[in-house]
């Protein structure tokens, strides 16, 4: 995993650079398209620039960005405009068959499972931390993680470490 650097510089520019990949990858995990991830990415950081929130520590900043990313992607999908447009088909950014197969498997999962999988396996967050960020009960997160694993059985069945 790429280490997530702490933002010693709290300027908006530094924060954007610091959390750029985290926000974009979570948005992509939820939406499955770069087109939507682009839009969410802009919205999240525009909100950050506009609100200029103050945090007690870096964990809170990260939790805020995760929460806003999830909310923005929900808002995007729930908007009247989004309901009217044709889903955008786009070229996948992956070069290996392994990545393409994994992406396709993940797209079969419900969104709320994909985001839990992403936060657990990519951001290395505990189920309690995920529950706090997503405003769900820990038991709900654990259930969603279990169901997601079951649905990814084909990928995970040979994976003893998961």
């Amino acid at each position: 995993m790429e280490p997530q650097p702490l933002c010693m510089d709290e300027s908006a520019e530094a924060v954007i650079k610091c959390y750029s990949n985290m926000v974009y990858r979570l948005a992509f995990a939820r939406t499955g398209t770069r087109h939507d991830a682009d839009e969410i990415y802009q919205e999240v950081f525009l909100r950050y620039i506009k609100k200029q929130p103050v945090f007690e520590n870096e964990d809170h900043r990260k939790a805020w960005l995760i929460k806003v990313t999830v909310n923005c992607s929900k808002k995007l999908w729930g908007s009247a405009w989004k309901r009217k447009i044709v889903p955008l088909e786009e070229t996948l950014p992956f070069e290996t068959k392994e990545a393409i197969d994994l992406y396709n498997e993940l797209q079969q999962l419900p969104t709320k499972y994909r985001e839990v999988i992403h936060l657990y396996y990519y951001e290395d967050m505990s189920t309690e931390a995920i529950a706090e960020s997503l405003e769900r009960k820990s038991s709900t997160v654990r259930t969603q993680l279990t169901r997601a694993r079951a649905m990814l059985k084909n990928i995970l069945e040979e994976d003893q470490d998961v």
């Binding site: 991830a37 682009d38 802009q42 070069e95 990545a99 419900p110 396996y121 470490d161």
Partner: protein, 351 residues
């Protein structure tokens, strides 16, 4: 291992340099636009359209036709205007003119500007919405969408931008497109951030529920939900709330089902309007929580007497709900106009 595979997959996913620079520019400038357009060319084109519309409003003599838009674009920036290919093919039905003004292909994206103008009445306004009534026929694999980008009060002309993204590496230069519209809505009212007069502290489990057949839905969790619940469980509609503040939308229920908050609204004659809305929760700090998913269902498929129900579902425990207030965004439409507008035109690239 799954974790390593997932990390390798994600290593290919990152924002484009242009996208990041746009956001960083906003941070430096301390100004926030609601939407930035990541393609600089597209942004310039949009600015030109807006600027041109302003100029048209100040020049009523030439504003009676759409052609001056080209002249103004060339006056403002020939380097951008060169991407526009004049089309000027039109279709008149029910006293309303639909005209394809221009079209251009830039890389794999075709951008087509379409205007509509009421020649006899005032049925076109700044809220004109083609909703689901337009079709874009094209002979290649692609995705397409249409959005309103401007309305000129002086000429009563509304402008739409159709964007078509080709996918598959085909050459679409010279291909013909048919854009058709069968009806549109106008005189719409929008209500944003509307406080709903409901005390969430008094919400309880639903006494009566029903299993319905959903005919659509929204929210990213909708599809996932239906994988487990082929037929969602919904509230049984109650007598509409008397003090619900939106004409055209009835508030027919709010209660908990299986630990999730369900909020139900109903729209009569749904095929004659696009009345819709979304609820969200706000805590005391103003933090918003959108519904996890929503679904639609009807009690009949018949057009006459049909009522569409929309149910928003929040995954917020009952014990926490008192900490929130209910808000919503709604849109209602006042007029539907029917016609048969159809224009076929070629896509040509000047690059």
């Amino acid at each position: 291992m799954f974790k390593e595979s997932y990390h390798r997959m994600n290593s290919h996913i990152f924002p484009s340099e242009q996208l990041m620079q746009d956001v960083l520019s906003a941070a430096r400038g301390k100004h926030c636009k609601k939407r930035m357009i990541s393609l600089r060319l597209k942004r310039n084109i949009m600015m030109l359209v807006v600027f041109s519309a302003i100029l048209v409003m100040t020049m009523p003599v030439i504003a009676s036709t759409v052609e001056p838009i080209y002249q103004l674009m060339y006056m403002v920036s020939p380097s951008v205007a060169q991407f526009f290919m004049p089309v000027q093919k039109s279709s008149i039905s029910n006293g309303i003119k639909l005209e394809v003004v221009s079209a251009n292909i830039h890389q794999k994206t075709a951008e087509i500007y379409v205007t509509m103008q009421d020649l006899t009445e005032n049925r076109i306004d700044g809220t004109t919405d083609l909703f689901d009534s337009y079709t874009i026929n094209r002979p290649f694999d692609s995705s397409a969408h249409c959005q309103m980008i401007g309305y000129d009060e002086k000429t009563k002309i509304v402008t739409f931008l159709i964007t078509i993204d080709e996918w598959g590496g085909q050459n679409i230069d010279g291909d013909k497109i048919t854009f058709s519209v069968r009806e549109f809505l106008s005189q719409k009212n929008s209500y944003e951030d509307l406080a709903i007069p409901v005390s969430l502290a008094n919400i309880a489990d639903a006494e009566h529920t029903q299993t319905v057949s959903s005919n659509g839905g929204g929210g990213r969790d909708y599809q996932g939900y239906l994988e487990f619940e082929k037929n969602p469980i919904a509230l049984v509609p109650s007598v509409p709330m008397a003090n619900f503040p939106i004409d055209g939308i009835a508030f027919t229920g709010i209660a908990y089902i299986d630990g999730e908050l369900h909020i139900q609204t109903a729209v009569e004659h749904p095929l004659d309007n696009d009345n819709h809305g979304f609820f969200y929760l706000k805590d005391e700090n103003g933090t918003e929580i959108d519904c996890d998913f929503s679904f639609y269902f009807s009690e009949t498929d018949e057009q006459i007497g049909r009522i569409d129900y929309h149910e928003c579902v929040f995954d917020v425990p009952l014990e926490n709900i008192a900490a929130y207030a209910l808000y919503g965004d709604f849109v209602t439409s006042g007029m539907k106009t029917e016609g048969d507008w159809r224009v076929t035109f070629p896509l040509e690239s000047v690059e």
